[in-house]
């Protein structure tokens, strides 16, 4: 027999024994299911994890995690567990369960199972070692799978929320025929500035707007790239045949705009939103008159 063949056979034998040890392990865990599960649920409560859930819920969750855990150990595939972890995260995240809790309970389960192995094989140290050799990598991988599944789910939720906030952050409102208002509140970062431009230019086209009042009363400050972007947006709007009136500039923003040397001939600015709307109405040829005044006029 050549050396390579020997090596291959040895590796095969090792794999074989790892598999058989895992099988032994799994049958042990199946036998002890009720007791170990109980123990684990007790530890979870003791460690004050999953406080957002009731005892019954914890027990029910513990049961299904336990079964999935053993199954992953048995089959050596993690897809089912991954799907389960994602599903679990989806259910528990809205209830305020934190990452450390999820990681904590999986590690607790790992420890509970390891303890039970210690107890079972305490007579035979070598065997215990071999069993742990098979158990530990699989257990660590399971812990990693569940933790990653949870974090991924969290990130997905965060991304969705960011998307939602972004969509809410730049409303385009039509207040009169041909007149749009864009009230901006909060800090404008480059990403939001880009979105603002897009919304504004698209809004002009779809609403056939002639005048747009861009109210930045709620914006505390802007940096010069964003200020430049704003000026460019105003110019682009002009190319579409619309006039942009910027209102509510804070002293800090005025300073930034002066610093970047904005051409004031191109920027139409009015002190506050009311003034901006009045100016826009004047440009559109509207005149708002109190009812009493019109009534007083001779017919």
């Amino acid at each position: 027999m050549s050396n390579t063949q020997e090596l291959a056979t040895a590796t095969e034998a090792r794999l074989e024994t790892t598999a058989s040890r895992l099988r032994e392990l799994v049958s042990h865990l199946r036998q002890q299911r009720a007791q170990l599960r109980e123990e684990w649920a007790r530890l979870i409560t003791e460690a004050k994890l999953l406080t957002a859930m009731t005892k019954e819920e914890i027990f029910a969750e513990a049961t299904s995690v336990y079964d999935n855990y053993v199954e992953a150990l048995e089959t050596g595939t993690y897809e089912a567990l991954q799907a389960y972890a994602r599903n679990l995260s989806e259910r528990v995240i809205p209830r305020g369960v934190e990452t450390h809790e999820v990681v904590g309970i999986v590690l607790l389960l790992r420890d509970v199972l390891a303890r039970s192995l210690f107890a079972k094989y305490r007579e035979d140290f070598n065997k215990l070692n071999r069993i742990l050799d098979a158990y530990e990598p699989a257990a660590n991988r399971i812990a990693a799978t569940v933790a990653v599944g949870f974090v991924q789910e969290r990130e997905r939720i965060i991304r969705e929320q960011q998307e939602a906030i972004r969509e809410l952050s730049t409303p385009v409102l039509q207040v009169r025929e041909r007149l749009l208002i864009l009230p901006i509140i909060g800090v404008i970062d480059p990403q939001r500035a880009r979105q603002l431009t897009e919304q504004l230019l698209r809004g002009i086209r779809t609403n056939r707007a002639k005048v747009v009042v861009l109210d930045i009363t709620g914006v505390p400050y802007i940096d010069s790239p964003v200020a430049n972007h704003l000026v460019q947006t105003v110019e682009a709007a002009r190319l579409l045949g619309a006039i942009v009136i910027v209102t509510g500039l804070s002293p800090e923003i005025a300073q930034t705009l002066v610093n970047i040397g904005v051409d004031l001939g191109k920027m139409n600015t009015v002190g506050d939103l009311q003034g901006g709307i009045e100016e826009a109405e004047r440009l559109l040829g509207y005149k708002v008159v109190p009812v009493s005044e019109t009534a007083a006029q001779p017919a």
Partner: protein
């Protein structure tokens, strides 16, 4: 690709239908500036709705057209610049300063009518 120029009342309307080469642009400029007095037009509308890109040469030519036509006694409006095109033009510093622009053909006609 030649740009058709239509006479509508006192106005000339040139509707660009596909991307233009520099040569096409020059031809459009010469045709518009030449015809504007011939038909005694009071206004010229250049509709660029179909253009996905307006580069520096096109911008300069459009501006030249507007200025030359003003010297010949008429008004020019560029209409139908797409939002994305407008913003990329501005990013490149092409702002068509001193040239009137409108949302679309209808707005352009309304603008010229107001100007009288």
């Amino acid at each position: 690709m030649q740009v058709p120029i239509l006479k509508q009342g006192a106005y000339l309307i040139a509707t660009v239908q596909s991307a233009l080469t520099d040569e096409d642009l020059k031809q459009l400029r010469d045709a518009l500036v030449g015809q504007v007095s011939k038909v005694r037009a009071r206004g010229v509308i250049v509709d660029v709705t179909a253009l996905d890109v307006i580069d520096s040469f096109a911008t300069r030519t459009l501006r030249d057209v507007a200025h030359m036509i003003r010297l010949r006694g008429a008004e020019t409006v560029i209409v139908g610049i797409q939002p994305e095109v407008a913003f990329s033009m501005v990013k490149l510093g092409l702002t068509l300063a001193g040239v009137s622009t409108s949302l679309d053909l209808e707005e352009g006609l309304a603008y010229l009518n107001r100007k009288g």
